[in-house]
């Protein structure tokens, strides 16, 4: 498949993520949008990795082809850890305020 399709898909996913973060007020949805952005990047990494695996450079070095794919795993692990912390914060937030609206939490200003 053509690499362009992957790039367009990743771009759409990333844009949806950014837009979601910008316009939504629900903390959980913002969180999901952040994940969306991360996964858009992951998708791109895998796509480029696959594309370059056929190049001459990759043939000379056997491990080169899988570098980006392994990197994606790292990103997913880090994202999972981040989600743990983030969700716990949102949990505590909800317990204290009975709300997950981020605009409600504007006390840290000035």
């Amino acid at each position: 498949m053509d690499i362009k399709a992957y790039i367009v898909l990743a771009l759409i996913l990333f844009t949806i993520g950014v837009t979601g973060v910008l316009i939504r007020r629900n903390a959980i949805i913002i969180f999901m949008c952040i994940e969306l952005m991360l996964n858009a990047v992951n998708l791109l990494l895998v796509a480029f990795s696959k594309m370059h695996a056929m190049s001459a450079v990759a043939k000379a070095s056997p491990t080169f082809a899988s570098d980006a794919q392994i990197f994606v795993f790292f990103i997913m692990v880090v994202a999972a850890a981040e989600v743990t912390v983030g969700l716990s914060i949102i949990m505590l937030l909800y317990r204290n305020t009975r709300s997950v609206d981020v605009n409600f939490l504007n006390r840290l200003k000035y």
Binding site: L22, R25, V102, N106
Partner: protein
Amino acid sequence: MDKNLLIACVPLLPLLGFLITGLGRNMLPKNLSAVIACGTILASFIISIMLFSTVRSGGPLNVEYFTFIQLQQFDLSFEFKVDQLTSLFLLVITGIGFLIHVYSSSYMHEENSADFSKYFSYLNLFVFSMLLLVMGGNFVVMFIGWEGVGLCSYLLIGYWYKNQDYTAAAKKAFVMNRIGDLGFLLAIFWFIAKVGSVNYDTVFSAESLKALSSTDITGITLLLFVGATGKSAQLPLFTWLPDAMAGPTPVSALIHAATMVTAGIYMIARANVLFSMAPFTMSVILIIGMATMLLAASIALKQNDIKKVLAYSTVSQLGYMFIALGVGAYTAAVFHVITHAFFKALLFLGSGSVIHAMGGEQDMRNMGGLKRYMAVTHITMLIGCLAIAGMPPFAGFFSKDEILANAFGASPVFWGLGVLGAMMTAFYMFRLYAMTFHGSFRGTAHQQSHLHESPAAITIPLMVLAVLSVLGGFIGIPEVFAHGAHWLNNYLQPVFAPSAPYLTKHTISHATEYVLMAVSVGLALVAILYAWSKYKNWSKESEKANTGIAAVLENKWYVDELYQQVIIKPINSISKVFHQVIELKGIDGIVNGIGSLVHYGSRQLRWLQSGQVGAYVLLMVLGILAFFIIQLFL
């Protein structure tokens, strides 16, 4: 005793006295601090006599104590040189210093114990500095003493520091002295740059004089002379001396008449070779001395404050000394320093005795007829007046005559102006004498009931100084009276011999000299008689408001006002501009501006910190977009 130690003791004893009376001022009783202060000076005086006899028989003494400053190409040692010139100054400083210390112990007795001790500690510190000045073996040691005496002068003028006018006078003296000191300091630097040494023997040796070009010599001597004008109260830096009379009268006698103000003459006499090689500087000295002498003498004619008359008279007599230096008659200058120290100390102490009896009154218009109450003061003051007026055979006659004869040798015009000055001197001194001691008493009845002769501690120094004022002139009997009888000339011969080749020797015939003497004494006598007839029965009713030239004289030629307009006002307005524009607007503006800029900026920027997460993210996204745009399109 070891010679080095003996010489060191001369200044160290007064220093010790200063430390004891100064540090123990809250504990020592008055009598004890007076005894300590007088005792140390007396001991110094005795050692000075011993040194004098050593120098007289064995020539100059040079001692080096330690290396003071060590640099790569320049070593400065702390050294003393006691030669004929120094030994004479030592005798004058410690001798008269001792008499004035004794006098002070009675004069200052009304002060409280701490102030009394403080006074004596300052006085001892002054004697120490003055001794350092004349004993120093190089210009730097002299400069240390030079600054020290300036400091003590400042401290003692402002001794009654609670009076604003007195502290202002002290500041004036200090600042004016500093202007002169700058010249002296620059001259020292010049020496170091050109000769690489400041030691007298090295600097005045034939090789180093050869190394100096005539521009160097003229420059150095002019700068040294600037220093001398400050310390010795010559035009244009003389106005501090009359104001210095704010200090206690014994201080005026010691510092502002007998010793400190002669430091400039000592310095020039010390550097006589250099000055003799700079004819331009010599003429500058002559002109300045002449102008100062006439100006100060004319001001003294119309002053009513007894101490102010004496102060201007001091400035005028210092002018005579500079005239002598200007015509190359160094011995005559030193001679006049010595005799002047005798009779001017006497006059000041006598005026102090009068002021003491009058309960602090200094205005001669409120005195009169004091001879009935104060016999000793009256007689001694009369001797002092006769001496300063140049009447034979008193001390002033010999020294003034020698100066006038030398001035005649240079030009009869100088002689004529000198005699004019001498006439004015005779006039104002006998005006002072007649107004103070003759006529009827013009003070209040309260003052009259308190009139009394001063105690022995005051009258004995007066009598000693009176004897010296009578006999002091005989150390310099002129050649016309007896061949080779000029003891001082013979004694100082080794000091001034090196400059002889550079000076043109004027010889005037004995007949001329007799005529000159007779004319100057005769004219002074006329001035005395005129003053006597005019002021013998002076009364307040006969006083007329001064007009014309008399008003100008009474107002001291408006010199202070002139300085006020020409120097102080412009400096004040420049300072005002600097303060208003550069200080407040410029420097403060920058500092405060940075502060308020940060403050204002942060006030504006903090609106960004809205607490809205969405807004932060939007900004972040916009920022990233901006980066992309810059990366891709710019």
